[in-house]
């Protein structure tokens, strides 16, 4: 079943369809949320919040404008950024303070580390992509974080994306070649 069929069922308020989307995309979304907030407990809470928003706002998703993941990513990013803007409130609610203490006493796993095609990029390309795609920075915030001029930062992002594109195309060619050989 493709995403459009599943989304159609979510629109009809079928919870099973939402859980199918969760099974497919929760890992990718948690990868983003966790790299933004760096606290697993909070990240999982925000992931749950993200899927509740997906459930409630699926009517505003327009498949002609882009993939489901892109739409869900935007929700996850905005939900996380909103939560990070009011950290005090979060700490005061429920058991978060306990977990924060725990986080302070035990070193948190380094979720900043990136995998896949990104690993093959130069460190400055990696960081540029990581800042804007995985850590929720806007271009205007990210170039300051990296300490390079905005123009330079933009070209880093474009170069990185171009390299990633080549890399994924190569993967496709290799895959095609392997299939041809097997055939």
């Amino acid at each position: 079943m493709d995403d459009s069929q599943i989304v159609h069922r979510v629109l009809q308020k079928d919870p099973t369809a939402l859980y199918l989307l969760y099974d497919k995309y929760s890992g990718a979304l948690l990868g983003v949320i966790l790299r933004m907030c760096r606290n697993r407990f909070q990240a999982e809470d925000l992931l749950q919040e993200t899927f509740v928003k997906i459930w409630e706002n699926i009517g505003s998703y327009d498949s002609t404008k882009g993939r489901f993941y892109t739409w869900a990513y935007r929700i996850a990013k905005n939900t996380t950024l909103n939560a990070l803007r009011k950290p005090d409130l979060l700490i005061q609610t429920d058991e978060l303070s306990v977990h924060n203490n725990k986080a302070q006493s035990e070193p948190e796993q380094d979720f900043a580390e990136l995998n896949g095609a990104l690993q093959k990029l130069e460190p400055h390309h990696q960081e540029a992509i990581s800042l804007v795609y995985f850590r929720g920075y806007t271009h205007r915030e990210a170039y300051k974080e990296m300490g390079v001029p905005l123009g330079t930062f933009k070209s880093y992002v474009r170069q990185a994306l171009s390299l990633l594109r080549e890399n994924y195309s190569e993967q496709l060619v290799i895959l095609w070649f392997t299939i041809e050989l097997l055939a």
């Binding site: 919870p15 990718a28 993939r67 993941y69 896949g116 992002v157």
Partner: protein, 250 residues
Amino acid sequence: MKKNKILEDGLLEKYLLDELSDNERLLVEDAIHKDSDLRAEFDVLEANFEKMAFENAIAPNAHVKGELQKRIGSPGPTERNRWPLMAAASLALLFLLTTFWMFNKWQAANDQLNLIESQTLSLQERLGVLEENYELTNNRLQLINSPNTIPLILRGNEKVPNSRAVAYVNHQNKLVVVNPQGLPNLPDNQTYQMWSDVDGEMIDMGLLPNDKELVTLKYIDRAESLNITIEPAGGNDHPTVERLISYVTL
């Protein structure tokens, strides 16, 4: 917005990341919609973005899905699917009420039908009795009025003075009918009985209860006279001649 500007300014990436102002977003969306090259560019960007995300995915703990399921609810009839169910339930209720109403109506109709049936039966019985009575009366009238019928008066002797019975004898039809109402009443253990005299022998014609208007008796051939005696209730095999109260010669 021009394609080159969108590409050079990295607006596709910013659009993907939701970093554009509302105005810029609408312009880029419009450009993607109109320009197939831009559309293809954006498709690749999105696909690579998604691949990158999957390569850097981190699996959440299982309890997160459980928590989500608690908040969203388990699969079942959805809001939209509840309407047909409610419609079906309403129809079922309507059907039930209609059935109940129809059942009551049917019961009432059935009771009335039973009543009418029993009334009809009773009327039929009464009609049967009336027809029987009418036939009997008609036969008797015809018998009495027939020119071949001989009316005979049986006057009571000294035992029952001033009493009388009337016999109608029709030799052609071989019928005898007697009106015994002029005979005095007897105790319960006694009855009147009628006999025909044939060559000196008394032959039983039947009982003659005086509470009836007309009594049909057996016609006996070659009878010379008709005789009435008082006998024990239920009648006798032989006449008690001592208690002969009336006779008439034919």
